[in-house]
Point group: C2
């Protein structure tokens, strides 16, 4: 079976919408765009679309691509202080003359709805539900909960140990009382572990690493990301050849946009509420 | 083979001592003692002993057991502001009329050498070596490194998911590129995982849960804690019956004191250096 994540996303959006409808002041999400590549513009368009859908104000600040790092930091300082801005994102990538880490570290953690600031990354290990959520790990948990997964007793194999996906999703699942096996690209005999798992989450940027014969019957596969080789897109799981009668898998292509953006907007609502 | 952790601890102490010898101002570690039970006094004595050994100043503030929470918080505020205090601990447990969480949350994270403040607990997920170290997880890593373990390629089974041991040690090991299986008391067929592991770390407070027949040949066992049942002490591993010819195991009884205190004093030195 292919997992229907669009309906999970819509469910989140509808809940946000209902909450926003009851607020005196609508939350406001700002995006700062310095490098307007076609990809960046596409991402911004998605965010605006779903912000509009949920009645969250969406505002865009476009800056010249040759803005200095110092001037950009000044803008961020103003965004941090401005009480009318609930949360904001700085659309990545930035032009090469700007150090992305300096920018990310300058964002006020309470307004960092994209969840890139180190203090937000740390916070998942001891999870406080009032706090902003890590966008990708949070939607993975949402999808699994939509399948009525009770994490106690579940064995989850996470392939990948990145700061954005592998580590925080492992931490969230340990918090949920799952048994978690965190593998990486050096793990020997990786199928020893995938074969034990009720759920496999893969985000390791290795084209079609995960094959049907590495899976236990009835297991669930969450494929998070892809690699581009010779202008062709390869996902981490060889989804085309995984039997959908035996496994529940996330559809590719389909990408994570509806859900990542859903958590981003949920974070904006949380940031607005936390402020009050 | 029994693992000789005393020499690991001594090695850390001697390195601290050499560094302190070169400092213009010696670091100062304070302990606040509210509830002077025999156990607390024993802990304090150990800390003083090793602080003396490393030439770190050790000072004790003894308070009446009936001090109000508000007054204790005032003291902590002063400790946070006092530049002559590099780091301090509040010896737990506290009398029942004081909420331990309120006290822990009031300690300035930069001076929290016992590593109890939530912000310190979060920080292990994305490890910054300049920061204070989690006392118990850090000595586990030290012991394994003293055995020349190269974490790449290693399979580590962590049994336990507490905030003080299981979660942070899992995070540190993932950072070190180990493949980490984090189990808990609900994990089904736990020996399926222990049998795959090159290293088993157990901190789950279940008397003698880990037996010889659950281990792979040549594996290493790190047993962190014990339970007291009917005034008898039971460790999590049945160490007496684990074959020392096939396995390297931490000795019980022997306890973790030399090493936990070593990291505590190392943190005090770090806190003093970070301040400058």
């Amino acid at each position: 079976m292919l997992i229907d994540w669009t309906s999970v996303a819509l469910h989140i959006y509808d809940k946000i919408k209902a909450k926003v409808a009851n607020m005196d002041t609508k939350p406001t999400l700002w995006a700062i765009l310095v490098w307007n590549s076609p990809a960046s513009l596409r991402y911004i368009k998605q965010k605006r679309k779903w912000a509009d859908y949920t009645w969250v104000n969406f505002k865009l600040l476009e800056l010249d691509a040759d803005i200095s790092e110092k001037k950009l930091l000044k803008k961020i300082e103003k965004f941090n202080e401005d009480d009318d801005i609930s949360g904001y994102i700085v659309q990545l990538p930035l032009p090469k003359h700007i150090d992305e880490n300096n920018i990310i570290n300058a964002i006020k953690p309470e307004k960092d709805v994209d969840w890139f600031h180190p203090i937000n990354q740390w916070k998942v290990l001891i999870w406080d539900k009032s706090w902003l959520e890590p966008c990708t790990p949070a939607w993975i948990i949402k999808i699994l909960k939509s399948l009525d997964i009770e994490f106690h007793w579940q064995i989850v194999c996470v392939i990948g140990r990145s700061n954005i996906v592998g580590k925080p999703v492992s931490a969230l699942l340990i918090n949920e009382w799952a048994t978690v096996i965190t593998c990486n690209s050096s793990t020997p005999n990786i199928s020893d572990f995938t074969k034990k798992a009720d759920i496999v989450i893969i985000a390791v940027w290795k084209p079609e690493l995960l094959k049907e014969n590495m899976l236990k019957k009835w297991s669930i596969v969450i494929d998070v990301w892809f690699t581009v080789v010779d202008e062709k897109i390869y996902w981490d799981a060889d989804t085309a050849n995984i039997d959908k009668a035996w496994h529940r898998v996330t559809p590719v292509p389909g990408w994570v946009w509806p859900l990542t953006v859903a958590i981003l907007i949920k974070n904006t609502l949380k940031a607005a509420k936390n402020k009050n």
